[in-house]
Symmetry: C2
Subunit: 371 residues, 2 copies
Amino acid sequence: MKDPRPSASAPHRRITIHDVAREAGVSLTTVSHALNDRGVVDPATRARVKQIAQQLGYRPSVRAQRLRSGRANSIALVSSMPFAVAGGTSRLGFMMEVAAIAAEAALGRGLGVVLVPPLEGAGGLLDSLDIDGAIVIEPVANDAHIALLRQRGVSIVSIGREPGTEDPVPFVDLQSEYTARLLLEHLHAQGRRRIGLLIGATPRQSYVETERAYRAFVAAAGLPCHIVTAQESEGEAGGAAACAALLREQPDIDSLCAPVDAFAVGAIAHAQSLGKRVPQDLMVVTRYDGIRARSHQPPITAVNLHLERVASLAVELLFEHISGGRERASVAAPLPELVPRESSATSATSATSATSAASVTSARPATSAPN
Amino acid sequence: MKDPRPSASAPHRRITIHDVAREAGVSLTTVSHALNDRGVVDPATRARVKQIAQQLGYRPSVRAQRLRSGRANSIALVSSMPFAVAGGTSRLGFMMEVAAIAAEAALGRGLGVVLVPPLEGAGGLLDSLDIDGAIVIEPVANDAHIALLRQRGVSIVSIGREPGTEDPVPFVDLQSEYTARLLLEHLHAQGRRRIGLLIGATPRQSYVETERAYRAFVAAAGLPCHIVTAQESEGEAGGAAACAALLREQPDIDSLCAPVDAFAVGAIAHAQSLGKRVPQDLMVVTRYDGIRARSHQPPITAVNLHLERVASLAVELLFEHISGGRERASVAAPLPELVPRESSATSATSATSATSAASVTSARPATSAPN
């Protein structure tokens, strides 16, 4: 007879209820009843079965437990934002920052987070993964992943509203309109009056709200309106190309609001290739306060979106919905805060002090023109 | 009768085989046979059942498919390296960089990657997740996660060898001894002769190999041997405390090899608080070329471990073992390459050029003393 106990090398044959029954010399039913404290089993036999199960290293099958509980114990984290935008070569960016925090928050609820990266094959994976729910990061209009998850009957929440529908999945509101106003008011306060806007061509809510805020802002302040779009899949090169197109049309632009950090970096590189100095000739500000903004030379003014709280709220909201709660259709993220850096500083002195500042603004949403 | 089709709001009741049977006016068995191309079903009925299933948006249950295939379609990524070390407040570091790449590589094989973060509760999650295999990042001696996974009979590979055993799980060799020699030879070539070593107190293979390489190096070169350890859980503060202890004992140390980036950053902060200039008074080098090394002021000399390739190799190796392959007990990562930066530059000029250099060394493993 083979020794059913695990040895040092991996992987091992799983110890099953059959091994326990054989070792204890009782029936499978007796083992099952004994281990699950069900049925009528002699107390001494029950104790002996439990002891043998423990000695053999028996663990109930995860799959069998799962079928009883109906829970997969995991949630998917889905993004369609290309890695070219999300983090460049290291891929570390918005999605992975959210992933790390979401994994921590989910673990507290006994849930694992499965990464579904923005790549071909993601749909197939969403189709085959056994999950209790999904968090979709910044969905696009008519989001294919959301459609697929809906069809599967899986609970869904999004970070950033699902655009282009009156009936979005429950979401954590990223407050992109407020963020855009923060950035625009900052550029205006730095004395800039010819402010361009560079957004992605993909229909995401953050672009929709940013464009709306920009149009309202320049109209109210009596400033010219210059909007250009870039392809997300092109990453930094897309930002450079869009900046080139904008500067060909409007060579006297004195500042640029580029909410996507990859676009901001590409735009700065292009402006510098034309001999423009940042921030003196062109101030550039962005949204995501990630590696790119922080390690760029010059460091780029960005916005603290409180991603830690955002990701935790998303897990909370999803957990509510998985558990049958339906009350909250959305929750608001904390108010974003400006992180001013050298890319929009008016002097070398202020730039240096701003670089190390965590957050210095106390701006509130403006309902009328700033002055 | 309720409309079984999905409406716009989420989540929806799942369309089941019962809905298809009712709509088609046939038995459950007929639906099952028709959809799975089994049994004897009239071709016209088969076609009609398939059409109705499609119209209703029916998808076979992932859980039922899973039970047939015996596959969970996901693998776990496990780390016991505290987030304090792994990435600081944003948590973006070694684990998440590996996670992003592993998720991409796994997706190509139809597998999802479940994050198991280095936090309390990870063991419970590993116990309850339905997974086909696991990648353990830099396991410790007698690793609790590996023991748990072995008991479950799950395939396991590690990134970095499992230390302290003759029978480690299959692993991707991080070549930490080679990496340590690269860093030590670099400091030696920069003219430094009083080189301290700062490693973690946890029993990981990379520390074991680094210490071995360091002892061999200083012995062969006739240099003094100064080793200090820090607690991983303390992150940068642990590095600062270890540096303080080392400098109290050996105030004339002229350089420090601190393979953990968090320790290197903490050590630099402490040295600077004593008025020491980096690199002039104390050169500091580290291993992981992450955000910390790149965005630190001054930028820190590090090593390109080719994590992209490392993570892909780990997924490949795990997939081999899940599929029943047993040939390869280990695979070698590509040879690490030095990324020299200002923290170990001999002059301001070389520092500036080194900051943007990707990799300039052509060092080979030394078997005798450097000179």
